[in-house]
């Protein structure tokens, strides 16, 4: 049976590698995002590498009206529809402190936009009784930290949303994977100094695909972030508030 992945934020570095890999395994893709020229180039790559079909569609996470075109493409497919959401933005915390207006956009990109889109897509997957949703959150959503707590708050909201969505969709045979990457070597982190356990997007995409096939609920990638975050989460707030990590 044919299978299609609709990928939101398909220009993200991790998403491009992910799209290439699902194409190589013979699945179709719908690449959604803001930069159509770039999406066209990636769609060509997917087709050349084995995707039976690769479409592109303009979607802006901050504009709910733009979602319909993507949803229509998903409905027009036959077979299983899967979705992966890579949209997110992380303005430097200092800039947010200066200009609180940035909070709204950060939350829209990393939480509310993706949540709205998935809420609108969910009935299709429920109807078809199959499919997987991959939501990319972040370890930053596990605890509010000095360096990026607005982004972290958005991701934390997204994690909670995904866990509820999993609870709902599991009843119709649709699976939801929450992905919590650590630091990944992408445009988002290029130029930041000395990041711990920096992973290549290739590795993260492989981990996501493995989590999808094993129907894992939550994935820390690379795995080292699971013990690291377990420790960080267990530090009492009275101590944590004095730390700078």
């Amino acid at each position: 049976m044919s299978e299609t992945w609709i990928i939101l934020g398909a220009t993200s570095t991790i998403a491009r590698v992910f799209a290439r890999k699902v194409s190589e395994s013979g699945k179709s893709v719908i690449l959604a995002g803001r930069d159509l020229d770039e999406l066209e180039r990636s769609a060509a790559d997917c087709k050349s590498r084995g995707a039976p079909d690769a479409k592109t569609v303009a979607i802006d996470a901050r504009n709910i009206e733009s979602f319909e075109a993507g949803l229509a493409l998903a409905r027009a497919t036959s077979g299983t529809v899967n979705a992966a959401v890579f949209v997110g933005s992380m303005p430097p915390q200092e800039e947010i402190d200066e200009n609180p207006d940035l909070i709204e956009g950060t939350i829209a990109d990393s939480f509310t936009g993706p949540a709205q889109f998935l809420t609108m897509l969910a009935p299709l997957l429920e109807d078809r009784g199959s499919g997987t949703i991959v939501g990319v959150g972040s370890v930053a959503g596990d605890r509010g930290r000095l360096g990026n707590y607005v982004y972290g708050a958005a991701k934390s909201g997204f994690h909670t949303y995904l866990s509820g969505l999993r609870n709902r969709l599991g009843r119709s045979g649709v699976h939801v994977v929450t992905v919590k990457p650590g630091t990944v070597d992408t445009a988002m982190t290029w130029g930041m100094d000395a990041l711990p356990f920096l992973a290549q997007p290739e590795k993260v995409a492989d981990d996501i695909l493995r989590a999808v096939s094993k129907r894992r609920n939550t994935l820390y990638t690379p795995m080292i972030w699971w013990p690291v975050m377990t420790i960080i989460k267990s530090i009492p707030e009275a101590i944590f508030k004095k730390l700078k990590i």
């Binding site: 180039r41 050349s48 590498r49 445009a187 130029g191």
Partner: protein, 437 residues
């Protein structure tokens, strides 16, 4: 575009540069950078010396622009972004029966690096160099992206192929993949007793792919002993290549001491039975044997290493033998030494290949090795041969001028397209290649 302060090296880790790197993730970012303040493009930094370094300057890391933009399954014609790695194309297309036409000894080299060095593979004697297969490429010129082919601008084409990145960033290229039966290799290995046997074997080989491993520590009657590998593509099923391993740290000095290298080489040579053998190998194992160990360059320790690679004309074969005598007597060689017969094919003014024999040997970086390499370089020059700039980190400017007679034609194009020298790299400055004399 964000710039990152970085300290980086080529594969040999001997030369080091500190500067800022951009790594565009979308095609139009290269255009923005070039419009604001142009900088040389670099790939996977698989050049050994300083060709991919710009100390106290800026460089554009092209590796994230790696998409296939078009593939014609009828003809094999592919259009691909310049940051794509040759090994990645092999993995994607070999299962469907298509191979990159030319593959250097590492699959990590990018298409951009392959053009800028006009790389050669184990099929050079029959198929020519990489640049000869490229039908057109898109070059980031000061006036925006421009498609260049031998028909539209032959001189600029030939200044870019093998042109060391000096005509500006290559964005994408078009070339035909080669039809192959499948993604396995049928490999025949022959044990060769000495130099006198090796040369006729290379001369008479009619295999599509051929390469010689040579024991550069063997002396006397065993001088030039080695293994000749000849191969054809084939169909069939063999176990997929094992996952790459990593060298986690710089190894201490004794790991490649002369005694250990001699022992290793002797057993490596004896591994192949005297009567030779034919086996079927996964395609990677034949083309990219070293890629299975990531970061193997760290084996040479912190100071890094040099690769000396020269080519000499057919008639200068004795000069090459003398070089090998010097190398063997020095006791400095590492296990990695390659001998191959090249054909005449070359695509650009500054391309390395010439019809003859090429020898490549690695040396841990130290005073003795540098002295030896200087001698070998003079001998190459006297033999009317050439040093490969993708490997070089030590050569003298005067020698390079003598070895590359079309330098002036290249320079004329470079001066036209980049009068300010924005694309200069450490290699260009070390060898004064931007000067006419």
């Amino acid at each position: 575009m964000r710039w990152k302060d970085s300290t980086y090296t080529g594969w040999g880790r001997f030369h080091q540069a500190t500067g800022s790197l951009a790594r565009p993730e979308r095609a139009d970012h290269v255009q923005q950078i070039t419009a604001d303040d142009p900088a040389p493009a670099i790939g996977m930094r698989r050049s050994y010396g300083d060709a991919c370094l710009n100390h106290q300057g800026r460089a554009i890391d092209m590796t994230r622009l790696d998409r296939v933009l078009e593939f014609d399954a009828e003809t094999g014609m592919i259009h691909v972004e310049a940051g794509a790695q040759i090994g990645d194309l092999l993995h994607s297309f070999a299962p469907r029966g298509w191979l990159p036409p030319v593959m250097p000894g590492t699959g990590f080299a990018t298409i951009g690096g392959g053009i800028a060095m006009d790389v050669h593979g184990k099929n050079h004697h029959g198929t020519g160099s990489f640049g000869q297969h490229v039908t057109e490429f898109t070059l980031m010129t000061p006036k925006g992206p421009k498609v260049i082919s031998p028909d539209t601008d032959e001189a600029l084409f030939k200044a870019t192929v093998g042109g060391l990145g000096q005509t500006g960033p290559i964005l994408s290229a078009r070339f035909p993949l080669l039809k192959a039966k499948g993604d396995v290799m049928v490999v025949t290995e022959r044990r060769v007793d000495n130099w006198a046997d090796f040369i006729p074997l290379l001369d008479n080989s009619d295999a599509t792919y051929s390469v010689g491993w040579i024991d550069a520590t063997a002396r006397g009657r065993s001088l030039g002993r080695g293994i000749l590998e000849e191969a054809e593509t084939g169909g069939g099923l063999v176990k997929a290549a094992r996952r790459a391993k990593k060298i986690p740290f710089n190894t201490p000095g004794f790991a490649l001491s002369p005694a250990i290298v001699r022992m290793f080489n002797a057993s490596y040579w004896r591994r192949v039975p005297h009567s030779g053998r034919t086996s079927v190998k996964p395609i990677d194992d034949f083309f990219f044997p070293l890629d299975k160990i990531h970061d193997w360059n760290k084996l040479y320790g912190k100071r890094g290493f040099h690769q000396f690679q020269c080519v000499v004309p057919l008639e200068a074969v004795d000069a090459l033998r003398t070089m090998l005598v010097n190398i063997a007597n020095s006791g400095l060689a590492s296990p990695l030494a390659v001998l191959k017969r090249m054909g005449p094919g070359r695509g650009g003014y500054m391309s390395f290949p010439m019809e003859g024999y090429t020898l490549a040997v690695d040396f841990r970086a130290n005073r003795h090795a540098e002295k030896l390499v200087a001698e070998l370089e003079s001998m190459t020059c006297d033999a009317k041969g050439r040093i490969y700039l993708a490997k070089d980190g030590l050569a003298a400017s005067t020698h390079i001028r003598a070895m590359y007679p079309e330098h002036a034609s290249w320079l004329e194009q470079i001066k036209k397209i980049d009068p300010e020298g924005s694309y200069s790299t450490d290699l260009i400055r070390r060898l004064n290649l931007r000067d006419a004399t």
